[in-house]
Symmetry: C3
């Protein structure tokens, strides 16, 4: 079960150059490409003639040409050319999707096109803010997307799953001060590790003078989790609200369901230090990737075990507070979509 | 859905030497081997004792011995020996299939044995004609067999799928003069590319004096497609009927359904030039194989996409004429087989 | 279908050292580890919190810690620690299994714990008898466990499947004197190859003076087959009961169903000669492993073929006598378990 009326990250801007890119999102195969004007188009990835995925073809003058018999489609999904014949049948068209490129990400709308409002797309200014530098990659995870949200919203896993990378002291994470706040369409979790030892990644990248006050702030909204983390020398006012002069990392975790059993995990990490040293960004990116591969192993194994015994109850613990709120938001949005078909009888009656 | 009352190519003659060969045809596992007299036998590939595929065993004095407990079967499927016991149970027998070796191919009959008429097997004299030399291979394709027929009967795909091999000019293929003729049990398509540039494969193998008149003639019958293609210097009478003195290639494309999702594609290419230069045949064969692997990639991707959304309609175009006729022939033969069970109540009544 | 009230071999003692070991037995995922006192514990391999297999975690002071959020379980399956929280919910517990380590094997009870009687576990003294030395390995087989029992109980396959290893003369095996005896819960088969040539493995390991009387004794009980084989110079009284002074091999074949389609095959081979020469044991072990891989290939192919046409009848032969008895024992034990639910209404009535 997926939310349909939602902007999902379909990829990063730099993934789409001259050729088409195939991505299956909530079970729908999509082909993305750039039009002649450089804007992105998103079409159903299935030629209406014989069903070949269009991503086998080529982008020709900003139009999508099928790689089997050469049919050409425009960004609305209309077939505009059939080699060897003049007349184009009226039904020679495929589905197109609302798509927006913003903040170095490609966002596609999977639900009712009439409801697609670009203003609802998550803004992520740190991809263009001159005071921040970022790097990113994407990890494909063979697990249900909700397990990835759970993972991101309960960071007590850091001490166990990431024992060998960013983990540090498990107890410090588990015993951190935590506050969970639910809004209408999001969840905010903040954790403070006060007077703690900076983890190796921090210590190697920034100059601290001993212990630090360390924060991890998690913002969930449907489609992405933002994690703002950092540290500042202990007692220098960070906890009270002044994080200036500290190390800051802003990570974006766009979570896009591909199928019930697979998920695209697009992530970036932005830093507010050593901006002019790309090798610092690359090193952080490599470490983050190794860390996320640890999550991937856990999530895929967990997914298999849960799937084998679907419906068996689980036991919640205190640290699950944020993840439980996020699951409720998702469940209620799915329930609302299922209950309210997109064209309702009452709408028709009211219109009459 | 498959036609059952039909001779299917099960392999090429040179594939069966001293050992057994396993082939699954229309979902039925078959083991092929040579009897003591050199003729081919075709048995169900499942020992009646414990179910092991007989192809694990060995051919012993022209009989098929199971590789598990040594039971021996003759070409009728009768068990003729059980090691360690005298009496052979009456039900110790397996199914045998009518099989004929002809024109360097092995043909097996999958339907009612009473209807197996070797005279119905497609003749292909170019495998033994002294004026032609041939080479061949087999390509296994993970797609439904009907997609392969579609592919062979609509060669407008050549300019797109084979862009990097035999393609040449896409428009020339799409705009070629085409005529489709339907007979009772076959389809004939002829395409003429008049006054056109010879494709690289032709130009490198034959001496032309500039532009050529080029023909592609496609003959579909259930089980195989024959494609006779060639070219002759422009205006030298080929179009009017005199192809003598031109380059000619005769390709056989035997299409044998293995399962709903996989197909054996046995193909040969015969040439009427440089007969005494085997390296010419090998080179053509290699190029053809590379070309057919391009088809394989397309067909397998197409199959997956169509299967994921089975039943969704497609849009026909003009170039599909031949393929549509072939599908109708197949559909009507399947429908006739389903409607007429092999032993009919009326037959019994009439016999009474 | 599996027998549940049964001790199954879950592994060999030396497989479990400091870390946990995951094994799925009759479809139930289990994690095995050593407690602080060195005894083995067996728990359901699924954390009650978020379902991660516990085998991803670590053994901490003889307790099992989940590798995701650090929950800790004792050997009864009770959660005894949740990082970051004081109170442990009452339902934070997982299933535990009766488990016994005996004769260098780990045995786990999959059925009603109240019925788990360690006295019923198969004794195998040859793993600790000073007059015998043993080696062992485990082979994973992607086939139903009953096919492995069939294989072990009908050794006429040796001449065909093991033609290239221990086979020797197929006819000698097929024509061997054979006697099958059925007890309440087991089957005993004895085969005598009198006045026969010692097989290569025997001849290379032991000094014979020509022909031998060779015995193969097979003992089936649910969970394991024991095969005691050997040979002695012909006419030296072995057949009459005095095997002393001959070569003896005792092989244990523990057969543990993992799923309907996969089986753990734990095997050891013990010898009564050249005890102080470990290289002799290693060589025998290697040859046995190569031999069992021949069985594995046959069983997996057989399993696929039988599964594709489930329910189709097979034809029994005389050599199947032992295997048929074993199948009857298994079938009747499964039927008895299905008929008698573990808590019966009559028990409750009687208790009232």
């Amino acid at each position: 079960m997926f939310i349909k009326n939602c902007w999902y990250a379909a990829g990063m801007s730099n993934e789409i150059q001259s050729g088409p890119l195939a991505r299956t999102i909530i079970n729908e195969p999509i082909v993305l490409y750039r039009k002649a004007d450089g804007h992105i188009a998103a079409l159903e990835d299935r030629c209406c003639h014989r069903g070949l995925p269009l991503a086998h073809g080529q982008v020709l003058d900003g139009l999508m040409q099928c790689g089997y018999h050469g049919l050409v489609f425009d960004h609305t999904g209309q077939c505009v050319r059939i080699p060897g014949q003049e007349k184009i049948p009226q039904n020679a068209r495929i589905k197109s999707y609302p798509v927006v490129e913003q903040d170095a990400l490609i966002w596609v709308w999977m639900g009712d096109p009439a409801k697609a409002d670009p203003a609802q797309i998550l803004r992520y200014p740190w991809h263009s803010d001159p005071e921040w530098a970022y790097d990113g990659k994407y990890t494909s995870i063979d697990a249900n997307y909700q397990l990835l949200y759970d993972n991101l919203l309960d960071l007590t896993h850091v001490g166990y799953v990431h024992r060998n990378t960013i983990g540090g002291e498990p107890e410090a994470h588990s015993n951190a001060e935590m506050k969970t706040t639910r809004s209408d369409d999001g969840v905010h979790v903040i954790r403070w590790l006060r007077n703690s030892t900076p983890p190796p990644l921090y210590a190697s990248a920034f100059e601290f003078h001993g212990k630090v006050d360390r924060w991890i702030e998690i913002e969930f909204s449907v489609g992405a989790v933002r994690i703002y983390s950092g540290a500042k020398d202990v007692g220098q006012g960070a906890y009270e609200g002044n994080r200036e002069g500290g190390l800051g990392l802003r990570t974006l975790h766009a979570v896009t369901p591909s199928t019930e059993d697979s998920t695209f995990y697009f992530w970036t990490v932005a830093r507010n230090f050593k901006l002019k040293q790309p090798e610092v960004g690359e090193k952080i990116c490599q470490e983050i990737e190794a860390t996320f591969n640890e999550d991937k192993a856990i999530l895929e194994s967990q997914h298999q075990r849960l799937k084998a015994q679907a419906g068996r109850p689980l036991v919640d613990i205190a640290a699950d507070a944020g993840a439980i709120q996020a699951r409720r938001i998702i469940a209620s949005r799915i329930a609302a979509e299922v209950a309210k078909p997109q064209t309702k009888m009452t709408d028709i009656a009211n219109a009459g």
